[in-house]
Symmetry: C2
Subunit: 115 residues, 2 copies
């Protein structure tokens, strides 16, 4: 059975984690839909907000779908990204998504399902 989901049918949860400010998360497709291997999340970073500056073993595949933001990888590694760009964050790489702009910054962040 093919599942089709509207964004507004998915619950939005504020991210509650150390180092987070103004970030909202939706699990668009994940284990509850029967996905065993891939989880696709939607993150919205409000103006002035940011994800934690952190790293983890799993990889991120990211697609910016609305607005623009800053990807921060450490001192001197600050790059602007905009809607329609694709990103890859290897496992073990420090990273942070920031919104220094006036519009919401939205991206899909896809990870392997963590067993």
């Amino acid at each position: 059975m093919i599942i089709i989901k509207q964004d507004d049918a998915v619950v939005t949860v504020p991210m509650d984690m150390e180092g987070v400010e103004g970030v909202f998360k939706k699990v668009l497709i994940g284990p509850d839909d029967g996905s065993d291997t891939i989880v696709m999340r939607h993150f919205r970073v409000a103006p002035g907000g940011h994800t934690p500056f952190h790293s983890h073993e799993f990889e991120h595949v990211v697609r910016v779908i609305n607005g623009r933001g800053i990807v921060y990888g450490g001192p001197g590694q600050e790059r602007e990204v905009t809607s329609g760009q694709s990103l890859f964050v290897p496992g073990g790489t420090m990273h942070q998504f920031r919104n220094s702009f006036e519009e919401p910054f939205d991206f899909l962040c896809i990870i392997k399902h963590q067993d």
Copy 2:
């Protein structure tokens, strides 16, 4: 090292497979970028085009990013999808993406990296 990619920096390849008509593919993020677990592809189905009606063991996580199309799952299972919707196609499920409209139908299709 975080990788940032522009769509127009990625080669577009016409899909050459039985049952395909008017479909163009880009691997946005994949093994060449160092991704060991996830591959994010972009497919464009031209007006009148379609992917093969087929199934395979691996799952698809799909995000429609432009236009609209038809997801066909077999007789009586034909549903319209539009930009901003998310889909899950379980492993072993017959599926086909068709474009019966006048604008290009674009979607991201994310799969587990096949070893």
